[in-house]
């Protein structure tokens, strides 16, 4: 199937031998827009890191068939006291095209200016990072993501501590990226935002709870199940006994997600 952008096969990710999310199977279609939803500690950011290739799987595989990947980590990972200007942060987005030594051309400069304009930060090029507001910083990070010109875009909680107007602008930008045929995965907490703008939802609680069309994934029952998961790492946790082959299978295809009601939907 050539329209698959990302494929999980029995993917287990975690730290020091403990799973943060385990036995995930499924595919993400090219050009789809998927929200990843779950409580704190449910494995959302871990999954993002796994897809971005930063975290090696404990088991299974995560195959990306994208040409280029853009990953926007949570803002807290960024050193805001670093003496850099907004434009320095945004121009990091040229790394995949220009690498370590490639010269930044005039055309790159024009692209960069275009990205800044798209997020409404024209004129902010020389502002030091520590003088940007939370919303402005997030806009700058979106400009960087845009500059990466990726076909698979991972956004980890991009709307934390961001005001309503910025959220509206950035959601519109995400819609535009999707219209350009890019595949987008976005970790979110705001269910109403997900319901309004994200056609697909992946609901996790250290394992898959539901995956499919947003309306069908975010049901009361599913959300309750996702909420009641074991958050803390249990010191006495036993070894996972799930078969190492696919324990369940899901697709992000709406029709199939309907069929899924009749089959096994989730692990456990």
């Amino acid at each position: 199937m050539s329209d698959i952008c990302l494929e999980f096969k029995n993917l287990t990710l975690g730290y020091q031998g403990r799973a943060a999310i385990h036995h995930l199977n499924g595919t993400i279609e090219r050009g789809s827009l998927t929200a990843i939803v779950g409580a704190n500690g449910s494995g959302k950011s871990t999954l993002m890191k796994g897809i971005a290739g930063i975290l090696k799987p404990i088991g299974g595989t995560c195959m990306s068939r994208g040409r280029r990947l853009a990953y926007l980590p949570q803002q807290s990972e960024l050193d805001r006291s670093f003496p850099a200007r907004a434009i320095d942060l945004v121009s990091l987005g040229l790394w995949q095209q220009r690498g370590l030594l490639g010269r930044i051309t005039r055309k790159d400069g024009e692209k960069l200016a275009g990205c800044l304009a798209a997020v409404g930060l024209t004129g902010f090029e020389k502002r030091p990072l520590d003088s940007l507001s939370g919303g402005q910083l997030q806009r700058a990070l979106f400009a960087r993501t845009m500059l990466q010109d990726a076909d698979l875009i991972l956004l980890d909680e991009p709307f934390n501590a961001v005001d309503e107007r910025t959220v509206t602008d950035l959601v519109a930008l995400i819609g535009q990226w999707r219209a350009e045929g890019r595949t987008i995965l976005c970790v979110l907490h705001d269910h109403s935002l997900v319901a309004e703008h994200f056609p697909m939802t992946l609901l996790i609680a250290r394992e898959l709870v539901a995956w499919g069309a947003t309306g069908e994934a975010l049901t009361r029952d599913n959300l309750l199940r996702a909420r009641n998961f074991q958050e803390a790492w249990d010191a006495k946790a036993g070894w996972c006994e799930a078969p190492q082959s696919a324990a369940f299978h899901v697709h992000d295809d709406i029709a199939r997600s309907r069929d899924r009601k009749h089959g096994a939907a989730a692990h456990g």
Partner: protein, 293 residues
């Protein structure tokens, strides 16, 4: 003292004595090389790593000194090997275990320092130890100058090539890891530069003071600048002024040259912390006048 006499006071030591010229040349080259490395150490919140590493290279330098006497090459190679071992050891422990690099670095440098002091006390006298610890910029021979120039050129080229990666690794390491695998190797390469510069400095300033020329100008420059490039330039300028001022002070007041250089750098740091654009006074003297946006 009028201006002409002031100038004479400043430059006469260098006009009169060859060893002072060599000391000035050596310490200025060292300033140009050390200061930008110090800037990146500071920006990576590793300011104390320089200090730890300066202790760590001691046993290597001591071993070279004990086996071959006061010959710069074995001392340098010894210091370099031990410094890299400590960097590698602490890097491996922090990367593959739960322990953070500050703790593993502390452990490795303390082990190294203890071995160094044991080595020196086993075979040498305390005078030898004083030399390794405090060096003498006034005794720089040709070999030492070549070494310092070589290290400066290596540092300059390496920083130039890996500049973009170093900045990205400091600013947003997770992002860099998502687009490139260069982060880890660049971190280690950077530690190699730190060790190289400390080793380059110990002949002139001693192991304990060479870190001063690395960190004090960088820390002082942070009060004046908010851009990595200008930070590096400002720290180099401060290091050069410290070298010049320290040598003049040491000449006229008959003080040891290394501590005099670091003393001047320290004075510039205190002045900057107080009166710099981003210093203590500036934070108190907030004007009520303000721009609307």
């Amino acid at each position: 003292m009028g201006p002409p006499r002031m100038v004479e006071w400043l430059i006469s030591p260098f006009l009169q004595y060859g060893f002072m010229q060599r000391a000035l040349f050596g310490s200025i080259v060292l300033s140009v090389s050390c200061a930008p490395v110090g800037v990146f150490l500071m920006l990576r919140r590793m300011s104390l790593t320089g200090d730890a590493m300066s202790h760590a290279i001691l046993p290597g330098a001591a071993l070279g000194f004990l086996l071959f006497g006061l010959d710069i090459l074995p001392m340098t190679i010894g210091g370099l090997i031990v410094g890299l071992l400590v960097a590698l050891g602490s890097g491996v422990v922090s990367r593959f275990t739960v322990q953070k690099e500050d703790a593993s670095m502390a452990a490795f440098y303390l082990i190294s320092l203890a071995v160094g002091v044991l080595l020196v006390s086993w075979h040498g006298s305390s005078v030898d130890l004083m030399h390794v610890l405090f060096g003498s910029v006034l005794a720089l021979d040709d070999e030492a100058l070549y070494l310092i120039v070589g290290i400066a050129v290596t540092t300059f080229i390496t920083l130039g090539i890996f500049w973009r990666a170093l900045v990205a690794e400091c600013l947003d390491p997770l992002f860099l890891r998502s687009v490139s695998r260069i982060g880890g190797p660049v971190h280690f390469l950077f530690l190699v530069l730190v060790v190289l510069n400390l080793v380059g400095g110990f002949q002139a300033l001693g192991t304990l003071l060479s870190v001063g020329l690395m960190m004090l100008p960088a820390a002082a420059a942070r009060f004046w600048s908010n851009d990595v490039r200008s930070l590096c330039a400002a720290s180099v300028l401060i290091a050069v002024i410290s070298s010049l001022g320290g040598l003049v002070l040491s000449y006229h007041a008959s003080m040891p040259s290394g501590p005099a250089i670091i003393f001047i750098a320290g004075a510039i740091y205190l002045f900057s912390a107080l009166a710099g654009r981003r210093g203590v006074l500036a934070s108190f003297l907030v004007s009520a006048r303000h721009k609307t946006a």
